[in-house]
């Protein structure tokens, strides 16, 4: 790790955490997994839809399959968003300053998440509800689906860039904008790892979905009967999981050294072992499809869940150790600052800080200096006219000045409007008197600037 002295060490928000940090850490792992499950189904599903619909141009059975999958996206995408809010909330509490720093540095892209996702969802609805109407303009229809899928592919990259940048204070002074945040070496491997994971999870899900669900009125096709569909999705899941055996190590090698530890290595290895068992079962399912069993499907789902939990835990362990030193330094900085603030406030409360200009001012002078002097000077125009002019307009007329101040009119064309100013009655009186005295020379010795 880079020496702390060269890193930016911000102060934390000076309010206590609302919940034990430990509980927040546990909850973030699980809340995040719930979110990512539906993100996987949404991203993987919409990729499947595009490809299958395109294959459906040749074989209509694929078109019907694509349509079935598109229907699931309506639900999955909404759950993906709403379940994302929980982990986001916990991140906001647990990594407040780290996270907001990353947000600010990638601000525009971060904001773009909102319209991009909204448009992707609208495209998704358009795609789903125009399936029949655009049956003869397949190209256009597929393009709509592809548009949604493409947008779905961009969004994780924005989140990833943020959540990754937040871990590396050493980059905070170099990064400016999303693109430069993507240049941190582990981002692209991490994205690849995520995409392959999405395809694997969605593949396994749809293999199960089309096995369990009944479609009485329309057997998808003789060409594409249930075992075939299942086998296809199993193969996809197998290929993606196997590919992650390459993407995973790539990610590990590109990770900045900050948070690497033996603990991390142990957790990740356990996950890898579980994934390997899944691959073996998948292989069995694919080569002998006749002997398929629901039990085996549930086993795979359980094992893959195990892998994902372990990977997410590993990720969290990495995150915590990457910033632990930095966090400690931050706590020190925060403490030093809040005690300085405390001292400064104490001095004020003890009257140790003299008011500027000494305390010997009359009430009228105080009001004038604090309020009127902002716009009026003795004998030159500031925002408002000089006092000399005022004294001419209101010779010895305290009441006239007060009346104006309470409810200023609109007099001079080349001046802006004076705001009405509410003071206590005695303050009104005092300041008006002070102005007249100042001009007539009674306050001569206190006169400042304006010459």
């Amino acid at each position: 790790m880079e020496s702390l002295s060269t890193l930016p060490i911000p102060k934390d928000i000076p309010l206590p955490l609302p919940v034990e940090s430990y509980n927040l850490q546990i909850s973030i792992i699980f809340l995040f997994l719930l979110h990512i499950l539906f993100v996987n189904l949404m991203v993987g599903g919409s990729l499947f839809v595009v490809v299958l619909e395109w294959m459906g141009i040749q074989k209509p059975a694929y078109d019907r399959l694509a349509r079935r999958i598109a229907e699931t996206i309506t639900v999955n995408k909404s759950l993906a968003v709403v379940l994302g809010v929980g982990p986001l909330l916990v991140i906001n509490v647990l990594y407040t300053i780290h996270f907001y720093t990353a947000n600010a540095l990638t601000g525009v892209a971060w904001l773009m998440v909102v319209p991009v996702v909204a448009i992707a969802f609208l495209l998704g609805y358009a795609h789903k509800y125009t399936w029949d109407r655009l049956a003869h303009q397949k190209g256009l229809h597929i393009a709509i689906g592809a548009g949604a899928a493409l947008l779905f592919l961009i969004v994780p990259l924005i989140f990833l860039a943020n959540i990754n940048l937040m871990l590396f204070p050493s980059r905070w002074t170099q990064v400016g904008g999303w693109v430069s945040a993507l240049a941190i070496p582990n981002v692209i491997p991490r994205y690849l790892h995520f995409l392959l994971g999405s395809v694997a999870v969605a593949g396994l899900f749809f293999a199960g979905y089309f096995t369990v669900r009944e479609f009485p009125e329309d057997q998808i096709d003789q060409l594409l009967d249930r075992p075939k569909v299942r086998q296809m999705f199993y193969s996809i899941a197998l290929a993606a999981t196997a590919a992650n055996f390459l993407a995973g190590p790539l990610l590990l090698f590109t990770l900045p050294a900050e948070g690497l530890s033996w603990k991390l290595a142990g957790i990740i290895s356990c996950g890898v072992v579980l994934a390997f068992i899944v691959i073996l079962i998948l292989w069995k399912e694919i080569i002998v499809p006749q002997q398929t069993s629901a039990t085996r499907f549930y086993w795979m789902a359980a094992l893959l869940t195990g892998t994902v939990v372990l990977m997410a835990t590993g990720r969290h362990v990495y995150r915590e150790s990457a910033i632990s030193q930095h966090r400690l330094a931050m706590a020190g900085e925060t403490l030093a600052y809040t005690s300085m603030v405390g001292i400064a406030n104490w001095r004020i409360s003890q009257g140790l800080e003299m008011e500027e200009g000494g305390g010997a001012r009359s009430p009228g002078e105080k009001v004038f200096d604090n309020v009127c002097a902002v716009c009026h000077a003795l004998d030159k125009r500031l925002v408002g006219p000089p006092l000399t002019e005022i004294a001419q307009t209101y010779p010895n007329d305290v009441a006239g000045i007060i009346k104006w101040v309470k409810n200023p009119g609109r007099k001079r064309a080349d001046y802006p409007q004076m705001p009405a100013i509410t003071l206590t009655e005695s303050q009104h009186q005092a300041v008006a008197q002070y102005i007249l005295d100042l001009v007539s020379g009674k306050g001569q010795e206190e006169e400042k600037e304006g010459e």
Binding site: N103, A104, G107, R347, P419, A420, T422, E449
Partner: protein
Amino acid sequence: MDLPVFHLDFLGNRFLIAMIAVLHVIINHAMAVGAIPLIALMEWWGKKTGERRWDDLAYQILTVCFVITTTFGALTGVGIWFSTSLVNPYAIGSMIRVFFWAWFAEWIIFVSEVVLILLYYLLWKRWQGEWKRYHIALGGVLALTSWLTMAIIVAILGYMMDVGNWTHEKSIATAILNPIYLPQLAFRTPLAMMTAGFFSLFLTYFFTRKEDPFQSAAARWISLWSLGWAPLCLAGGIWYWKAVPDSMVGNLAVALGTQAFEGRYNVILDILLVSFLLALVTLLWSAVKPSRMPRFVLIIPFAVAIVSLGYFERVREFIRKPYVISGYMYANGIRVDDYPLLNQNGVLPYALYADAKEVTEENHLQAGKEVFLIACTRCHTTNGVNGILARLETMYGSDRWDRDTVLMYLKGMHNVRPYMPPFPGNNAELGALVDYLFSLRAYPAPIKGAQTADGSSIRAEKTYDDNTRG
């Protein structure tokens, strides 16, 4: 001061939040909180009267609501969060700590709301006959959750306007039970119901045909719904209005310039009253003689609803000033408690990403720019929305710019314009700020936020001084 400063120099940061928030409020009130009970009631009415077309109409209105709330509705909600955490990260970070459990509860209810609307919409055609009863009940539960999400958020909004006892007793209960909470909720609830009526009325004329007597029946029915909520809305509005200025006056250390607000209040109040009446007249018309109602007239109440919701949010935002969390944190993200220290030592020594740590002869323009970023950019841009140059121009014309005058003004700006926080730094920094403003006038270069390639953090372009002098 511990974060790189995100800044949009044309649109302005306040405008960004306002845009997203107003869109969200309109969708949320007119198409969720108010619409769902209306739709469920209509569905129930269809079952009771046996008239199939009530059911169809309810479903059609729900379709529109479903598509919009699950896309722009949900996403603008997230967007408010994203944008405020970019623009006012210290405020949102503090509030999430105070309100963690409220926010967590909000999230749980939000999840239920989404699940329920998915069920309610996607099962509409399937749960017929025997099942219809349960479907209607589902609508009722959904309506309740929608209202609850709003009820919680309003607590947080109320807190931002008036923290009540929280500054003394930092607990979530005192924070939620702030003095503005109930009045605001009592106003927003009927307002949402009414606007949902406007919106549905508008849709009804598209989903039914003019010759069809059902159109008149439906229009009358929906108009009566909105009219029924109108008195409650008015009563809630008055209560709310009464609660607001009081607490504001109480919170302002110096009771100055309330007049300036009153001026604004009256104008807005007049506009609101007139549009409220206009909307009522339209409603009466469509309740009494729906068949004589030209379609375009229905734009009026709907537009009134949108404009007044927008205004309402704007006023709510504005009267909170100069605070972002009233009495605790100013809109520039600096706590009231921080001021004595910063006034003494300056903001720059504590600004993590500032290049200049102290104002010197060489760096004063750079320092002034950084001070501007910290102290003013949450509300001002250089030359865009609420641009500082234009503001100064209004006061000093083109020929009366004078260093001492401007300096004097900025020193007392919170006294004269109570919606602005006091200047947070020390005298040297104030001088540097004025120098920067003058240089900006000579060479109006926009300020880049941390999110841009060459503005990363607030380290600014090194050549700046050269530019302004050349």
